[in-house]
């Protein structure tokens, strides 16, 4: 099962194509990093995949099951201040009308997974930035998504917290095997997380390079010090330089 984008174009106004003839296939269980200059249309591409925007031309083939089970993580955690961590995480299930006892169980499992179980009864105002993001991540994961879209999810966090969350996300992915597409401005993060790094160019936005990153799995942070990693990183960096000219 794969997702195909064929010759996708997006115009917000008739004169300027934000995305132009963009084609891309996303395979099941892949982790894809999306990088590119600011304003090239990365968020727009993600939003089209989520259904938040509609492509002007071209077609988007998403298998129905995947479409039904897509989660989106915004850069801002977008938590409800009046709900506890547990109630925030349970929200998507609550909206589906699922029984409370089941919600409680799912929430507990998810909080355990993102390491937030101790904070279950805290309110967002009592959390650090990293914890807020974990909570947002747990909310996205609680529905067991097949496709997880993240738009610069950890950009506002310090490096150590970001590394931690990257690692946690990789660990979760290695168990759940969901497909992940994430936007980032951080080359290390893109290279470390992804099986493929997609480099976008701007004006008009399209995929300029598609760089496979074959590194030993499971990945752990020490990998970043190896020569293999540096080689992949250089490739990604060169591709980004190319489009940024």
């Amino acid at each position: 099962m794969q997702i195909n984008l064929n010759q996708i174009s997006k115009y917000f106004d008739a004169n300027k194509a934000i995305l132009k003839d963009l084609s891309l296939s996303i395979f099941e269980g892949e982790v894809l990093g999306l990088i590119g200059p600011s304003g090239c249309g990365k968020s727009t591409l993600l939003r089209i995949l989520a259904g938040l925007e509609v492509a002007t031309h071209g077609d988007l083939e998403i298998p129905c099951e995947i479409n039904q089970q897509t989660s989106f993580v915004f850069q801002d955690p977008a938590l409800f201040e009046w709900r506890t961590v547990a109630a925030n995480v349970g929200l998507p299930l609550e909206l589906k009308g699922i029984k409370n006892s089941i919600i409680e169980h799912c929430v507990e499992v998810e909080l355990e997974r993102v390491g937030l179980l101790d904070a279950a009864h805290k309110y967002p105002s009592e959390l650090s930035g990293g914890m807020r993001m974990r909570c947002s991540l747990a909310r996205a994961l609680v529905t067991n998504p097949k496709l997880l879209l993240l738009d610069e999810p950890f950009a506002a966090l310090d490096e150590m917290t970001r590394d931690q969350l990257n690692q946690d996300l990789l660990n979760i992915q290695s168990k759940n095997k969901m497909t992940i597409l994430f936007v980032t401005h951080n080359l290390f993060e893109a290279t470390y997380m992804s099986q493929r790094v997609l480099v976008m160019q701007s004006n008009p936005g399209k995929i300029a390079a598609d760089i496979p990153v074959s590194l030993p799995e499971p990945r752990c942070l020490d990998l970043r010090l190896t020569g293999e990693f540096q080689d992949s990183l250089k490739l990604v960096q060169a591709a980004l330089r190319e489009v940024d000219k």
Binding site: A50, G51, L52, T70, F72, A78, E81, L95
Partner: protein, 255 residues
């Protein structure tokens, strides 16, 4: 308790200067009665003052509660339909700009010189802060949040209950605080217009009758009672509102 010390000292100083001014400048009691005379009224006529204050308080509270109920319903309707909003909102603003003294006689003409009119006048004057604040709160939901709810396929009612209402609580409290003060003004102004022939025996009656009888210490004591009533109602609403916000974690997020 410590934070009240400066204001209490200021109050005592104020009383002393008041008293001193009357003695040293020989101010006639018809212009400014002495603090002692006013205090004597509070001591001797406390029953009459208390009755009048309670009567006005009841009207103000009734008007305030009604304005909260009606104001919330109006805001709710406006948040659910653009057409309703576009048709009601201009009138809400317009009515807010009309001076209460211009509306009060009309209400008395329609509903009689009784409690009903006074409650309605108090309600009308305290309604708009609720409408403007609550409808702003119900409407201003961040784009991210709305998109998230859309992705979760939340229904209109779920969005209303789980997002709009809780988001609007801080705005509701701001509106209620303004409204509480105005409800007291409305209750007293309303009673003014029913005149001395009216059945009501609230603060406005006492103010008017003391004015006519030239009982100035009593007039002052009544005015002070009216000010105290406004202050107490505002403080209760304000404290209760802050408590709800704190207890329910409804504060608008800073990050």
């Amino acid at each position: 308790m410590k934070k009240y010390v400066p204001s209490v000292i200021l109050f005592i100083t104020f009383l002393l200067i008041w008293d001193l001014a009357i003695r040293s400048f020989n101010i006639s009691p018809f212009i400014l009665p002495s603090p002692k005379a006013v205090f004597e009224i509070f001591a001797d006529q406390h029953q009459e003052l208390l009755d009048a204050t309670l009567q006005s308080a009841l009207i103000a509270v009734a008007g305030f509660v009604l304005s909260i109920l009606i104001g919330t319903i109006i805001s709710l309707l406006m948040s659910q339909s653009k057409i309703i909003e576009l048709s009601i909102y201009p009138y809400a603003i317009f009515l807010q700009a009309v001076p209460i003294v211009a509306i009060a006689p009309v209400f008395i003409l329609w509903f009689g010189a009784g409690t009903k009119s006074m409650i309605l006048i108090s309600m009308i004057i305290s309604l708009f802060p609720i409408v403007t604040n609550v409808s702003t709160g119900l409407r201003s939901i961040e784009k991210d949040v709305m998109e998230m709810m859309w992705l979760y396929k939340a229904s209109r009612w779920q969005i209303l209950w789980k997002v709009r209402f809780p988001s609007a609580v801080p705005n509701f409290v701001i509106g209620a605080k303004t409204s509480a003060g105005l409800a007291v003004v409305g209750a007293i102004v309303g009673e003014y217009f029913t005149g001395l022939s009216g059945e009501s025996r609230g603060l406005a009656f006492l103010i008017q009758s003391n004015q006519q009888n030239a009982n100035y210490p009593f007039l002052f004591a009544t005015s002070i009672s009216a000010a105290l009533l406004g202050f107490i109602i505002f403080s209760v609403v304000s404290t209760l509102g802050e408590w709800i916000i704190k207890k329910g974690h409804f504060e608008r997020k800073v990050s």
